[in-house]
Subunit: 165 residues, 2 copies
Amino acid sequence: MAEILERQAKKPTPEPAAPEPMFDLIELLFFAYRDFIGDADRLLTRYNFGRAHHRVLYFVERRPGLSVAELLDLLKITKQSLSRVLKDLLDQNYIEQRPGLLDRRQRLMYPTARGKALALELAQLQSRRFARALAGLPEGARAQAASFLAAVRDPAAKDASGDAR
Amino acid sequence: MAEILERQAKKPTPEPAAPEPMFDLIELLFFAYRDFIGDADRLLTRYNFGRAHHRVLYFVERRPGLSVAELLDLLKITKQSLSRVLKDLLDQNYIEQRPGLLDRRQRLMYPTARGKALALELAQLQSRRFARALAGLPEGARAQAASFLAAVRDPAAKDASGDAR
DNA sequence: AAAATATGTCAGCTCTATTGACATATTTCA
DNA sequence: TGAAATATGTCAATAGAGCTGACATATTTT
């Protein structure tokens, strides 16, 4: 008897019925990122650099004086992965390291003039893509896109991303 | 005299003055994609699969009957890159191939029940992230995000992405 | 003085992607 | 019909970017 009631009660919602996946967003994000990153990739090959070099240069330029540990945390990669590309960038004078003033164990990283120039070139290239995209969209599109992308991030990661201090 | 006038006329706009790069969007897209793709990565390692397997499975599930050439064009990778992951998926019975009815040279790909199940699990995982993100955003956010991401893509690529036929 | 921290480096491994060359089956075209 | 084009598969070699684990050095903290 209890069984019947239970079964009846459950019927209307057999299982919490997983909602239809958002295939549109999954696919669009995949394509958008692939094309976005492709712009930079093409330019980087001319310098014999890869994506990893780009990311390091980008963050050092955006957050000059960054420590190695902070950069590792931002990129979420390991020290060993970083070391190869960082070495390239140091050797070829795109980035320079200076000991921390407060803690001399730290190697704080700064972009050189050369590094700044390349970082800017890459950022402008990617911005042109965004500018083209936004040109065909209504007024608040840039702010809306930023809100969406920020919300998609790991909630925890937001505090770690640096410049909010 | 003409020189002076010219110089004066030019002063206000010295160079076309490249606009400030959109660092906000560059960074947000990087982080959003990294976290988004990370969800799937963690699940995939449990199956000994990588991102490449995921992409292939995803598109075969979404566009059953896809030919190898169409898949290569969608993913923008080479035949050789595809072959290894495709072999894994075929061997482990996530995907099956059937000769094309019209053109028997083609190997049209279809997901198996097993493949469908994994593809769905992955899509639901990534959709949960989007759902969480959209929960905190105003009404039209999903449509706006989709418009933005679509506009960021290579304009040329849009026709090639398949399902609009 | 001991412990913890910041960084660097060595060795070895995986996954994803690349290019180039070549083979086979099938379809299309002159 | 015979040649050319197409769809696919496969072999070999290579690169880029990431990983783990182990260990060394300098510096700071306790």
